[in-house]
Symmetry: C3
Subunit: 632 residues, 3 copies
Amino acid sequence: MTPIQPRTLGTCYYPEHWDRSIWEDDAQRMVEAGLSWVRIGEFAWSRIEPRESEFHWDWLDDAIEILGRAGLKVVLGTPTATPPKWVLNKYPDMLAIDAQGQPRKFGSRRHYCFSHLPYRAEAGRITRDLAERYGSNNFIHAWQTDNEYGCHDTVVSYSDAARSGFQNWLAARYGDITALNKAWGNVFWSMEYDDFSEIDLPNLTVTEPGHIHQLDFMRYSSDMVVAFNKVQTDILRGHTDAPLIHNYMGRIVEFDHFGVGADLDIASWDSYPIGFLSDRLEASDAHKQHFLRQGDPDFQAFHHDLYRAVGRGRMWIMEQQPGPVNWAPYNPAPLDGMARLWAWEAFAHGAETVCYFRWRQAPFAQEQMHAGLLHPDSTDAPALSEARQVANEIKAMPDPKTAKGDVAIIFDYASAWAWFAQPQGADFDYFRLVFDMYRALRRAGQNVDILPPDAPSLDGYSAVFAPGLMTIPDGLRKILQSTETPIILGPRTDTKDINLTIPTPMGPNVEGLDVTVRITESIPPTAKFDLKGGGTARHWFEHITGDAETYIETIDNQPVLVGSSGLFYLGAWLDEAGFDRVIQMFVTPHKMPAGVRVRDTDTHRFWFNYNPHSVTIDGNEIPTAGVIWQKL
Amino acid sequence: MTPIQPRTLGTCYYPEHWDRSIWEDDAQRMVEAGLSWVRIGEFAWSRIEPRESEFHWDWLDDAIEILGRAGLKVVLGTPTATPPKWVLNKYPDMLAIDAQGQPRKFGSRRHYCFSHLPYRAEAGRITRDLAERYGSNNFIHAWQTDNEYGCHDTVVSYSDAARSGFQNWLAARYGDITALNKAWGNVFWSMEYDDFSEIDLPNLTVTEPGHIHQLDFMRYSSDMVVAFNKVQTDILRGHTDAPLIHNYMGRIVEFDHFGVGADLDIASWDSYPIGFLSDRLEASDAHKQHFLRQGDPDFQAFHHDLYRAVGRGRMWIMEQQPGPVNWAPYNPAPLDGMARLWAWEAFAHGAETVCYFRWRQAPFAQEQMHAGLLHPDSTDAPALSEARQVANEIKAMPDPKTAKGDVAIIFDYASAWAWFAQPQGADFDYFRLVFDMYRALRRAGQNVDILPPDAPSLDGYSAVFAPGLMTIPDGLRKILQSTETPIILGPRTDTKDINLTIPTPMGPNVEGLDVTVRITESIPPTAKFDLKGGGTARHWFEHITGDAETYIETIDNQPVLVGSSGLFYLGAWLDEAGFDRVIQMFVTPHKMPAGVRVRDTDTHRFWFNYNPHSVTIDGNEIPTAGVIWQKL
Amino acid sequence: MTPIQPRTLGTCYYPEHWDRSIWEDDAQRMVEAGLSWVRIGEFAWSRIEPRESEFHWDWLDDAIEILGRAGLKVVLGTPTATPPKWVLNKYPDMLAIDAQGQPRKFGSRRHYCFSHLPYRAEAGRITRDLAERYGSNNFIHAWQTDNEYGCHDTVVSYSDAARSGFQNWLAARYGDITALNKAWGNVFWSMEYDDFSEIDLPNLTVTEPGHIHQLDFMRYSSDMVVAFNKVQTDILRGHTDAPLIHNYMGRIVEFDHFGVGADLDIASWDSYPIGFLSDRLEASDAHKQHFLRQGDPDFQAFHHDLYRAVGRGRMWIMEQQPGPVNWAPYNPAPLDGMARLWAWEAFAHGAETVCYFRWRQAPFAQEQMHAGLLHPDSTDAPALSEARQVANEIKAMPDPKTAKGDVAIIFDYASAWAWFAQPQGADFDYFRLVFDMYRALRRAGQNVDILPPDAPSLDGYSAVFAPGLMTIPDGLRKILQSTETPIILGPRTDTKDINLTIPTPMGPNVEGLDVTVRITESIPPTAKFDLKGGGTARHWFEHITGDAETYIETIDNQPVLVGSSGLFYLGAWLDEAGFDRVIQMFVTPHKMPAGVRVRDTDTHRFWFNYNPHSVTIDGNEIPTAGVIWQKL
């Protein structure tokens, strides 16, 4: 594997959008701004191969040459997220089908079904063509596969291809139909099948389909993404030693990123703090108003930590918001300083490279209101000078390696699917639950590692949290018996087996922790169950029994946090005060002003001020949208 | 007809879900808990007949034998709500079609269209097979047809079968197309037809279809439910003298329950107080919070009274909530005591039997989070001890016959359809209107009878209310001329003829009551029209003219309640204070703490405390979730 | 062109709905009430031609004769909004297709696709039949084409006819596919086409289609409405000299009314003040409550002024609300006096005729709850006496010609489409923006003219406002250089070229006004950017640069209103206080109580009291819902 790089900046560039006459100047300006990387090509299929087997390589040859000669390292994307119209003409049934049975048509992007094998082969074919031409090109220092898997809800498709693929997948998983009928509990409503070919996709049923039917379809759909990606990585590996990357997104849980990441070298993600605040974060109006032009102070950090795990230590920002975006319900501009703050926060969390998206705002098409480092008229946009500042600051900063976490949280994509299929309460969402705990750890100033459910060890942490884990995998179950680290399970953890069935004995079934969840309540937003000593349960409340000692209970004496021998079970979703209490049992929080966050590297402590006003920490003022660091 | 039974308890059991080895123990535990009845079989088609004409009777024979020998009376359900996959393979067009034109697919339950005649025959065929085998089985003391007609919005289907069935139904109703064109007012927008075969279903029209087009389609759809059920009752009557039952649901008005009930002996319903509070009740947040773990204090009583009428005096609870359910948006657990309170309330309102749903929580499939009397691991769930308490209390209580109502309300399903087709105000809903009046009567401590629109007499009540009755049927119109009982019509009553057309003279047209509604206002939630003397009109306000005396008027002197010679017309939907004033003109209210309700039997008065705190009545404390009774 | 008529009243009548025996009496009562005009026929196709080529003219002959002889002037409508069932049988593919791909079925009205050429021809054919029979009938004094184009979202259809029509339209507009690919920026996501036949409609794409793809489809769809209408006007012109009218609606912007209007003589519209308040107006609950039974005080005036422009000076109200309607979410009754106030307000704004819709409330079909001048039982409804009062008052009032506006606003339908395709903020709506400015002008007591974007002159106004104009047309750009009138552009004005692309130099590009919009923020409803001196920006905020002088700025010193040499640019959407400040830079406001509005004719000033209470102006009391006038 490529050794850790010094921290670098980059940008995303679309030579095909601009007259060739300005490429050279663009490349010069990138270099002058201190950028090292440039990603190109990921939407350019129609310019590379406008008609089947008619290749126009020269412009791309030139672009790579011009950028590379200017001193930039090129990331070349496979263009498979945007198959040209002729590909669709060739495979009219390659479109994904929505849950209502309608084809998701050509005219934007990601118009393909992951289950469609001829398109998967076609995507492999264009990947091979690119790999053969550029695999040994010295200007290309990394490859990106496709773009933003899962964007626009594209993991799941209800196509004929998906149905037959799913049937085969089920046959392989269960062997015979009797086993499936039993695993799925199909006796329940006479839903038993005689043959795998009878099994339809779990959409448009009269009422909800079996939760395991849904879960297995999500498992299958995730596997299709992994397989689609692997076709490309297998081909690229044959032609290049450069690292392979995919750029993931924020709060996308429809496929197993660990699975995709296993075939790649680097996990990058697309960080749009202000867009995400508007578009995909549960928060009060006051919170959204306070962080309107800064983004949520934990959302980026969470994904940095998550994707550092997905990348097995190697993480990038492939797309960093530089100004207003176009796609959120509302699109304010960042405060001055945020484009710098976000980059430094990414570096502090271990990012090797931060690429601003995009170099120049496009004047046309769907994203014409998405800001770039340049305005459409090529004048400097505000983020350019901030990028330049970061580039200069990087030089003065010895390569900072992000610190090992003080604490860890386990994140499991399959649990997200399980609870999506079986929320039981209208506002139960796995990501939200995990993120609520993560936020509490951040409020306490902790460095957090996010771990996959098959992490080989939990040692070296003050505590490890595993909320909402549908089933404890065998490996983890063993580790729980041996680790010295305090482990906090729940709510909802290990209450199901892998078929989303309630086991007997009822869970959690963890040796040394005598706890059983026998009754579960989902609670409407208007209701709360208060805790003795402060805090309240909301959303979710479990009636837990067993001999474990009670550490937190409700004012009605119902246990909420119990434990024994270093293993703990939390039987409720708590509010901020409640989660803070749980966490303070295991770690000593930093004192920090609200809206400030901290992250350590091996050598430095970084403070990030997400507030729209300055703050003072230990006598040091951090300006609005400011970041400071101190040697540890 | 079978004589009134002593009050009994029961449960719903699915032997096909459990290993045969535990059936005997389950049966013993049911008996020991004091249960007398057990319902089985209603979802077991795939185990009775896994492939066409391949019957597996032995397990069902055994189950009936084991349960019966243990001393339980068995209710056997026809399994027609869950046709197995092979039935669908045989009739691929049997699925209902939703309003968007999509088939409602296999994978859950109720996947059939009531208009599909071959499936109706197939359902009859399996019913006959069951009836022939078990019609004279001594352990079977009652039969249930299908399950929960109308659940999951399954009454209405936009299938080809429905279209041709509707065309035939229209031809039969109107005789010739000119009569239909006239009755429907099709001249209005050149909507006239030349032939019944031209008439399409009233979905997907450019703007709203004719309201009578919709109403007739709902009448037709309701008739299809009646006809579907009658195929089964006709067959069962040929093989058994045991009473025939269907289990209805809460707030389902899409078919005429009186029509279905006419072919049955007992009306049972499925009482899920906490699920209904969350899922299908208009109430303030404060109300929903106060009754979070108890359910609305009037919703169950309303349905007890309604289904007592549907069952012509014989009413059961076939499914009684014992703990959290799985299907409401939020699913809290009942307070301790509620599983007892609900049962006693049902008995006080005339229920013969209360069956808890279900015996043991299923660990798999869609309802695995639905509590039972046992946990999935066979340990006792909280409701079991409450059931046991009720069983003991029943023994000590002479068979209580519910009292005749002090007052009555007329309930008419066709009016619900009429106002669904023509709400005129976005929040006008027939059930809600009737229920608002019912609540006011309950707040006043009245025993209420609910009557069908063709009730043969209104005598013996302090008052009878008929809100929102589209048309007064001929029989009722005659009774109004002869009864001594004060009758309160309106709002909206008798303002249409049977074709949902405004009659001339404009209604209401009741001899002896000089009232005409000429202008109607629907009022947004933000608006109110205050009454002199307290209370306010909301939702709906009529401008009424005529010589009847005014009893209540607005502060602008517009009449609201008028009457003459014992006939009254209420021209508005009122708030609580307003309805209370209307009711107090006719009855003397009991004084009761808020959240407490009362119901009399012939011998006792029962008090139910729905509050999450204790209350005192006449010096007697009723604990939280408690029920007490006194001899009258 | 016909000379300006004296102000007159009329009504809409449906002889086909009533027994012939009452037509004569109806006509007499209309005349006695002071009505001059009667519109008939627009939904009567199935009675004129119940089967293809089978004509029943006699009833219509008689109706025209009876009405005409009674002294009424007849407006005859072509019945093409309601093709009978046999027309659909003849052209089964004539239905519009909704965005989900479903046909919009028969059973109400407007069930045709504007792109369906055979239906367009059929509509021409029935128009010709009518024109031939009645073109020279002396009782017919005007013709109406079709009815309410665009009602029920019927402008846009996703049919096969629309797709091929759109492809041809694009071929004609762009000439060759390369030009289209360039204009649309299709390189962006490899969306390039090889041929016009490959271009699909912009529905059901994976994510949003190209904004120009959407805009061009809206342009095309609008052209289809113009073409559909022109078929009829071309035919009618060959047979009659009577003026041709179409009745438009409120807040319908899906087609270019100026385009349709160019082929007509009079623009009429359907004024439903209370329905519109409930159904299509953004306003606070308090505002909606205050004006519950009066309607918004500016909504009607805006449309009067707009349609006066569409009609090139000639404007009617073809349908005036007389009582509660049936189609809004909530339908309260007007306060006494409003039916008179609305008529006088229309006259003051230049209406020649106000027709109340409808003569008698229909007892059947979809609109049976829509009030008329008569109740269904033929008794007088409240509005009839108000109409009579207006008829008498007209006689005493010399023909008032509406005054030229003090100020003007430019209204451009294509800009509405552009921002619909590219809102950039969830609550950005072109109509709303323009209307917010219009309201501010009305609060200041100004007479407002609304101008098309190709108005030949802007002279003679205190100021002209052009908010949200996507592109400044060439003609207007020239006028800006020569007019003495202060012009206020923005927000968002001239920031795109005609292909909805950001131009270079970035806009606005107006000689003499050094302003550039480089960054745009859309702001959620919870956020505001306050202005120095009062008022706040909301919804939309632009970062503007350039040398123009700053007149208004935020508390953070960002310019909001800038200008030079009589040209101004407003870079934000403001609240009421903010817009009031802008306007007061150019005009001196009248002092008026809240809820009162003013409009001048050449000779009189009219005051309209929209409040539910009386007010005093200059010592004169205006009663609730009252109108007074004074000689100027």
